[in-house]
């Protein structure tokens, strides 16, 4: 079944009505030759579950994750699996991770976990590894090679500085714009592992890399950044189709560097603005996004969200589910060779931002 995106959406929209499916997740054909690759998965990220004291947790973040899971449980047909993209906790505490896992247990389906810096810097991932998931790993699913990286490591001299308390380290890394912070790294050990892992993979197999921080350099001041991004990209360069999915930035971003498509996922907790608005001096930010249209700050879920993903092109096609806002799809355009917003890519079709007084 070959058709362009517009026809695809139209037809599937009609199919939704015809079959009474409550939402627009429709099985997508990867290609007639590869019926086994016909699948979807969903991506939830950046829940930032935060303990106030004892059994009291920040309600807003709890409700964001709860709502997302409730919605994701309504996906039909069922996605093959879920990803959680990191920052389940706010300050890496066992209580936060446990509470987060308890909420996550309502999700119906297998979950692959990616670690974020908010999960890591209290105990350097020990509790995460014992309870949740390895910090980096790979697996194959229906002809796609998935790789999970721990991209939020940093230089040893910062990590093992003479911290009075591990929580000081956690707090230092948790602050978005901390000038005393340290840039993220995948690091040599993991890059070695990645190199070996990729040796076994045929170059025509589509690769999906999931990391918490962007494996590209966006804005160092906020650590929207991975310091050895180029070295990681170089390892991925020989492959025909590579998609990188990352969390951390709490906003929609997409970009193409050579053969690699980059797509960010939304947070369930809160949105970050695009950092450009805070830049005082000229910076040379890559042109990445159609900015988030944030309708109304009263709606605490607005500009948060989650996404489901298909790989019918062999690249990630991302369908953003945005409560209290317009859903968006950022899909790999085979003609231009880069991910593009299906509806809002042209300047003329964008929703102008609102001014608040």
């Amino acid at each position: 079944m070959k058709m362009d995106r517009r026809t695809f959406l139209k037809t599937t929209g009609a199919a939704v009505t015809a079959s009474a499916l409550p939402i627009s997740l429709i099985k997508v054909a990867f290609g007639a030759k590869n019926p086994a690759k016909d699948f979807t998965f969903a991506y939830i990220s950046d829940a930032h579950i935060q303990q106030i004291e004892g059994s009291k947790f920040v309600r807003n973040w709890d409700m964001g994750l709860i709502r997302t899971i409730q919605e994701a449980n309504l996906l039909t047909p069922r996605p093959d699996f879920f990803f959680f993209g990191g920052d389940l906790a706010q300050l890496g505490k066992k209580e936060e991770l446990d509470h987060g896992l308890e909420i996550m247990s309502r999700l119906r389906g297998k979950v692959y976990y990616v670690i974020g810096e908010h999960d890591y810097y209290l105990d350097l991932g020990k509790y995460w590894e014992s309870k949740i998931s390895p910090l980096w790993y790979s697996f194959d699913h229906k002809g796609i090679h998935f790789i999970v990286l721990n991209s939020i490591l940093t230089y040893d001299k910062w990590t093992h500085k003479n911290w009075a308390d591990p929580m000081d380290r956690m707090l230092a890394m948790a602050r978005l714009d901390n000038p005393e912070g340290s840039p993220f790294l995948v690091g040599e050990k993991q890059r070695e592992w990645l190199k070996k892992d990729l040796e076994k993979v045929d170059k025509s197999i589509p690769i999906v890399v999931c990391s918490h921080s962007p494996l590209q350099k966006i804005y160092k001041g906020w650590n929207f950044w991975t310091d050895d991004a180029e070295s990681v990209q170089a390892l991925l360069k020989p492959f025909k189709k590579v998609s990188v999915i990352y969390g951390h930035v709490h906003q929609i971003q997409y970009n193409q560097i050579g053969n690699i498509s980059f797509q960010a996922v939304m947070a369930t907790a809160w949105p970050w603005p695009y950092p450009k608005s805070y830049v005082q001096a000229p910076s040379h930010l890559p042109k990445l996004t159609v900015p988030m249209n944030r309708a109304d700050p009263f709606f605490e879920r607005d500009a948060t969200g989650w996404q489901f993903i298909d790989l019918r092109t062999g690249n990630v096609d991302m369908h953003y589910q945005l409560p209290d806002n317009k859903n968006r799809s950022v899909v790999f355009n085979t003609k231009t060779g880069r991910p593009q917003d299906v509806k809002y890519q042209n300047v003329g079709s964008r929703i102008p931002p609102q001014n608040h007084y």
Binding site: P22, N60, I66, N73, L74, T76, F298, P323, D324
Partner: protein, 361 residues
């Protein structure tokens, strides 16, 4: 808001008569200018029980002037005491709303008015034909339609019937409440000290104003949006199968009939119209004007008093503090930490929203 303003300006013309204190000018569709003849005709149509299968139910049965143009029941009763699933909203000031029905499934008063005639639990006519037969042959109606529209016989259609009813409803506006006299009229004695404290809670700690909007020169007490506030959460579809069945129900029977005949389908709220996940269980923000007259409350009439409503919101969309928090609860609904005194003040404020024409009996 700017875009809405532009749309409003192209679709409606504002009528000349001055709006009551606290209300904006009435929006009138360009294709249905208001005239005294139309209003008179609409009034008669609104009260005519012959437009129901049993001859016992008119629009006014559920929208009774004596009951604030509502019916005082949790959910409305149509023919043979059949009940629907939703609380009759007042018609007073309905002309200002951007959409009609609790789920906003109709955009105008005109299009809204044609549906209850046919709904099996309301007026239950098999089609609109019996109405047209009466208005085309009844001498009184023949005269009124001639005066209002210059039409007779087969030229009278449901378009004219609905335009007349809508014109009548556009006269059912009421402002000038103690709140309006206090807030817009500068009469500092118009509200009691308790109601004045209640207004402060309404605007601040209670956060009521976020949805029940008060503006600088007018207050309609609605944002014209849809929110899942936690009401009837236990009715909502529990899983995908139930949700799919409810959507199937809507498609098979049509929204109007499906949502009024089944509590589970009704609980979909705005989702039945948009199929947008944000809208599951979301219902339109109703106006609060004359709210003291229109108990019971919420879309399903599940709360008997204003005290219960305030407590419900204070508990973050729950009847009891110990009830579970609905998963899809709108982000704006959260516990308010109001004291008992504050709750009482808030109720006093709500009682100050009654217009004098409804208090002077």
């Amino acid at each position: 808001m700017l875009r809405l303003g532009v749309i409003a300006a192209t679709l409606v013309t504002c009528v000349a008569f001055a709006a009551p204190l606290g209300l904006p000018p009435m929006p009138i569709p360009a294709n249905n200018p208001i005239t005294p003849d139309k209003v008179k005709l609409g009034d008669k149509l609104f009260h005519d029980k012959r437009f129901s299968s049993t001859g016992e139910v008119s629009c006014a049965t559920c929208h009774d002037r004596e009951k604030g143009f509502a019916d005082g029941l949790p959910v409305s009763e149509g023919i043979n005491k059949l009940t629907g699933t939703r609380n009759a909203p007042t018609v007073i000031n309905a002309a200002y709303l951007h959409s009609q029905f609790w789920d906003g499934r109709e955009p105008t008063l005109e299009s809204q008015s044609t549906q209850p005639f046919l709904n099996p639990v309301e007026m239950a006519l098999p089609s609109h034909e019996p109405i047209l037969k009466i208005v085309r042959t009844d001498p009184e109606y023949m005269d009124l339609f001639k005066k209002a529209f210059g039409k007779t016989g087969n030229r009278i259609t449901m378009t004219e019937v609905s335009q007349a009813i809508a014109s009548f409803e556009r006269t059912l506006v009421a402002g000038n409440s103690p709140f309006d006299r206090y807030f817009y009229g500068g009469d500092k004695k118009a509200m009691s000290p308790a109601a004045i404290r209640g207004l402060d809670i309404f605007l601040n700690q209670g956060r009521c104003v976020s949805c029940h909007v008060i503006e600088q020169t007018q207050a309609l007490f609605t944002d014209n949006r849809f929110h899942m506030i936690g009401a009837a959460a236990q009715q909502m579809p529990k899983d995908l199968d139930e949700l799919t069945a409810a959507v199937e129900d809507v498609k098979k029977k049509g929204t109007d009939i499906a949502v009024l005949s089944n509590a589970k389908t009704s609980s979909l709220g705005r989702f039945a119209v948009t199929r947008d996940l944000t809208d599951i269980g979301a219902f339109k923000t109703p106006t609060l004007r004359n709210i003291d007259l229109t108990a019971p409350y919420l879309h399903d009439g599940s709360l008997k008093t204003l005290e219960e409503v305030v407590l419900f919101y204070n508990n973050g969309g729950r009847v009891k503090e110990t009830d579970p928090v609905p998963e899809l609860l709108s982000g704006g609904i959260r516990p308010l930490n109001l004291s008992k005194e504050q709750e009482a003040d808030l109720v006093e404020f709500l009682k100050a929203l009654t217009s004098p024409e409804f208090t002077q009996k």
